[in-house]
Symmetry: C2
Subunit: 440 residues, 2 copies
């Protein structure tokens, strides 16, 4: 599969005029509809952010890195150009604010993140941040302001713990500040570098009702929209996640001298278990997913029967009840399979992220906005976590997805075309205007 | 399961008199039969060797280590006490020789090894070396010498490449001398430390016919004898081994955003494959074994669908044809399973050890010797490799096994009782006398 590095990226983004020759509908649309979205500007800003932290192995713009600081600096400049008042809060979130016409109303919030995973791509978080900036700038320049104040957020450290958005939700604890992050920093040091306060991070928490609502655009990071040729995904919510450490215990022995019939081979049980997890998850109705991503056999030599195997088990679904039911089923299956082989199996939960449903009114609004602009659209869950998940405890949230080529993400091969991002920006803009009219 | 450390080891070996209170049959037998085997001496020598390299984690008596040198020194002293002429050959084999009555006959060879794996046990190799020494000393002291010269060998570096015995068979290449071994040495340095010659190691090769035959006693390293309560194993041969690196290739993707139905999960294929290997191997008639001992999923994160999996595959049997047929079957099964999952599978052979059948006449002799002494016995293959395998290209070979508790080996939990070793020593002695009469 091709790797969209410099050349291909440039071909789709800059010089912008040339790139848009191949997507005339977007250019015509933006000129015709005069909604203020400037496709060439979106393209050049996407490319500008991509330059910060670019390496042949992918984007290294981890939270608190020099590249992250530079990207936030550029973003600050663009927000100020657009007439926004910019601040960095205690949790390192970069926030631009534009006054509304009704000073009594809480602000509408939009935004995403600019930090990347190590060796990441150019679209995850960046597309949503640039789209939010573009939509907000279009509103600022339109002469028809919103009733609500409008805030644009670049959340701190989405990729390695959603620190900024979780701090707003009151979910960050002081001791997280000591965690190591990429680049030899602690999380607290990374936070201080972007202008936040590791000592006072817990004070960044907001009260529910502080925001009227939050709307985030993101690349899908999955293949559904691209595969089905659909322009806009209306996100139903962010799936919950449970992760378990699974251990199968048997008995390690000499691979040459131990007959097949008396082996207590932990890897045979583990193999049966992981296949059962896959098949059972496929067989159930619904969109749940379950994954064994990590496996290690002990002692791990070609000539020793594995005496123990460690595996990871992850289950995701929009409904926590489905996750729980699947887990119970896997546990029963695992025990049955272990018994057959004179082995044992144990499950230790180590990670829980609760499902965050999107607001039904927000879903309807995004869908109607997409329809009004003539974009094909589909309701779908988000299998990945997002800042919207944290904000959901403070305010109603909505999300919209734009297509990811081949569903690839967290990789330099991540790719979304500029026209898809511009389409999404226009739906985001239209949705913000509609929400401004419909909610208080 | 208990760990036979100091206390239990002492209880079974030394002070020898106390230990033998619990195995009166052996003591009485050795006194009554007057075959010259001294159970108390076997016990104290086993214990003496065990002291060299003993640590709380197990025996560290790797080839060329200080502990190995010391153990060989003790063995040299015992051989000289028994009237043997001792030399170390170019390949580091320690060899004691006793003249026979017919100077025209080639020597009969017996022996094993004293080196251990790192963190090994006290019986693998040591039991056979001490048994050979004891049987040879009994012959030397008996006043009824053999017709053949008798040689007792402690082979160099059995555990990490059978270097000494393979050099006699002409199978060691000069470049092996540069291989790293335990303790920060190269194999050549380890060889020089025991008095061999890394420069001239290939000159250690002998012509077929140099020896009249070779007989080795070894612990079973498997559970068959101990489980079935049988005293002597008559070894049919040493199984052949083939090892493969197996790679399953799929496509790595986000575990949250990639629906179950479109995954190309390499670990699901790998799981199906390793279960099929186990079940197919059990289903075939015969004593073949196949093992997947090592597995690694890439990239190996809980939230990423494995895009590739590496596994080891090992197949052992007395018949190379059975190994080949199983491999073909596994390859076909693997390809079929990979196709079902839109993944691919490849096999790369990286290790071959040809099966070495024991001489039928030697098997009959060992069996008859065991019967004559009243010991229960069973014919069985050796699933592990041994020095006898190398010598088989030079001369007819035979092997006899004594029971391993729970079949555990290469572990400090390895255990064989002194009475079992003494039983084996007496069968070894009787077999050597019978072979001396029957072969030329």
């Amino acid at each position: 599969m091709p790797h969209p590095t410099r050349r291909e990226f440039l071909a789709s983004t800059a010089p912008a005029a040339a790139a848009f020759c191949s997507v005339p509908r977007v250019v015509r649309a933006s000129r015709t509809l005069q909604d203020g979205v400037d496709g060439a500007r979106v393209a050049s800003r996407m490319e500008a952010i991509a330059r910060f932290g670019a390496t042949p192995e992918g984007a290294f713009r981890t939270a608190g890195s020099d590249a992250d600081l530079a990207a936030r600096g550029a973003f600050t400049g663009w927000l100020e150009d657009a007439g926004f008042e910019v601040r960095t809060d205690l949790a390192g979130n970069l926030i631009g604010r534009l006054a509304g016409t009704d000073p009594a109303l809480p602000p509408l919030l939009t935004g995403s993140h600019l930090d990347s995973v190590p060796a990441g791509g150019n679209f995850d978080g960046v597309a949503g941040s640039i789209a939010s900036l573009e939509a907000a700038a279009a509103i600022a320049a339109s002469g028809t302001p919103l009733r609500h104040p409008l805030e644009v957020a670049v959340f701190f450290n989405e990729e390695n713990g959603k620190t900024g958005s979780r701090a707003l939700a009151g979910e960050v604890t002081q001791d997280e500040m000591d965690l190591p992050v990429y680049g030899g920093l602690t999380l607290g040091q990374a936070l201080a570098r972007v202008g936040g306060s590791p000592e006072r991070v817990t004070e960044a928490a907001l009260e529910p009702g502080h925001y009227a609502g939050f709307l985030e655009l993101h690349i899908e990071q999955g293949p559904t929209l691209a595969t089905e040729g659909i322009e806009i995904g209306v996100v139903q919510g962010i799936v919950g996640i449970r992760r378990f450490r699974v251990r199968v215990s048997g008995f390690a022995n000499h691979a040459g001298t131990t007959a097949m019939g008396i082996r207590r081979d932990a890897l045979v049980t583990a193999g049966r278990f992981l296949v059962a997890v896959h098949e059972e998850t496929r067989a159930w109705p619904g969109r749940q997913v379950a994954t064994v991503g990590r496996i290690e056999a002990h002692p791990g030599a070609a000539n020793v029967i594995p005496g123990a195997v460690d595996l990871s088990l992850e289950i995701r679904d929009l409904e926590m009840e489905t996750i729980e039911a699947l887990y119970q089923r896997f546990r029963d299956l695992g025990r049955e399979l272990a018994r057959r082989n004179q082995t044992e199996i144990s499950f230790e939960p180590y990670y829980l992220s609760r499902a965050a449903p999107c607001d039904p009114g927000f879903m309807d609004t995004v869908e109607a906005a997409a329809e009004s602009l003539g974009f094909s659209n589909l309701r779908l869950p988000s299998g990945a976590g997002h800042d919207a998940q944290s904000i959901a405890v403070l305010a109603p949230v909505g999300m919209l997805f734009v297509p990811s080529r081949d569903g690839i993400s967290h990789s330099p091969r991540e790719f979304t075309s500029v026209s898809d991002i511009v389409n999404g920006t226009r739906v985001l803009l239209e949705s913000l205007r509609r929400l401004d009219g419909s909610i208080d």
